[in-house]
């Protein structure tokens, strides 16, 4: 950094985290927030493509999608929704605690958020395992383990078998599972990245890097975390809930 630049701004009392191309900490933080939102908007577009694919196929094959939705574990899905909402709350509290300079509370909230994120991933792993056991992994994603669910006969209530809603075919149910694994898989990847980011933020918080004047990294990581929560807020009803009301008509 050229030393001559330092005379351009009044940096005598400036915060050590202030980069030379910003006037003050507020401007720097707002620029960072704006940049994060531009990134999140590209993420909206990215997930939007998958939501569009889901919409088209659900419209075309409603019975198969209802069949597949009903086979997902609604209790695990709802639990994960609550876990993520609680984690969003603890994340928001972590941002607040940093803003008012309560470092200890902030670290506690960050650790809680990470634990909740890992809880979500753990429950997701259990769900994926259930799908594996029921031979619902589409195509040959796992070599030698084809999509081959058992179809339940009339009156058979075995939850591991597929209860076809009238009009549904096993092939179209497989289509749902492609979309299910693509969407929840990408979402889980974002969760893993989020847990990684929050781990770094927590370490920095422990090292006293943040203060009421400088907390932009905590806030921006929080934006990412809340965004991932929002994706799940849409995934949960679309994947798990739509078609539930047809269960009684089997």
């Amino acid at each position: 950094m050229a030393e001559g630049l330092a005379t351009t701004h009044e940096h005598a009392t400036a915060h050590s985290a202030l980069q030379h191309h910003f006037e003050n900490m507020d401007q720097q933080r707002e620029a960072g927030t704006l940049g994060m939102w531009v990134f999140l908007v590209t993420e909206i577009m990215f997930f939007g493509g998958m939501f569009l694919a889901y919409t088209l196929y659900r419209y075309e094959y409603p019975a198969a999608f209802a069949t597949a939705s009903n086979h997902l574990d609604i209790k695990l899905g709802a639990t994960n929704t609550v876990v993520l909402i609680v984690s969003s709350f603890t994340m928001a509290m972590a941002v607040f605690s940093t803003q008012v300079g309560k470092r200890r509370n902030s670290i506690i909230c960050l650790v809680l958020t990470i634990i909740l994120g890992l809880t979500f991933l753990g429950i997701k792993a259990v769900e994926y395992r259930d799908k594996y056991v029921d031979n619902l992994i589409p195509g040959q994603l796992i070599p030698g383990h084809r999509f081959n669910p058992e179809v339940a006969k009339e009156g058979d209530l075995d939850p591991h078998k597929l209860h076809l809603v009238p009009g549904a075919t096993v092939r179209n149910v497989e289509l749902f599972y492609w979309i299910y694994f693509a969407m929840t898989g990408m979402h889980a990847l974002h969760m893993i990245i989020g847990v990684g980011i929050l781990t770094v933020i927590t370490i920095l918080a422990v090292r006293r890097r943040f203060s009421p004047e400088y907390h932009a990294p905590v806030e921006i990581s929080g934006l990412y975390w809340h965004f991932v929560d929002i994706v799940w807020i849409f995934l949960f009803p679309l994947l798990y809930l739509l078609g539930r009301h047809l269960e009684g008509h089997l």
Binding site: D26, L34, T55, L56, F89, F96, R171, F234, L238
Partner: protein
């Protein structure tokens, strides 16, 4: 020109509203609404929940208008992409899945 700090009281209210929304959406999913209303109800609740997260947890309500503009522009553009794609798919024959 310091930033706006959102206090825990607000976060708690939003948090409870989100939990309520989750409960309601899971509960009404088993209810057989006429026609496509099940999807409409589920999506309406999801949009409300997402809006609460964006406005309060993500501070957009207290942020510069520019950020709200970016989000609105993105959603508007996404709506165009959805509309054009759906109009295409819904007016063509689908090949049968074999």
């Amino acid at each position: 020109m310091s930033e706006h700090i959102v206090y825990p009281r607000v976060y708690v209210v939003i948090f409870l509203a989100l939990l309520l929304g989750t409960g309601v959406t899971a509960g009404v999913a088993f209810f057989d609404f006429p026609g496509p209303l099940n999807a409409v109800v589920a999506l309406t609740i999801a949009v409300i929940k997402a809006t609460l997260v964006i406005l309060y947890f993500m501070h957009v309500r207290y942020s510069p208008r520019l950020i709200a503009l970016i989000i609105a522009a993105a959603l508007f553009w996404m709506a165009i992409l959805f509309a054009l794609t759906i109009s295409d798919y819904s007016t063509r024959a689908w090949l049968p899945v074999t």
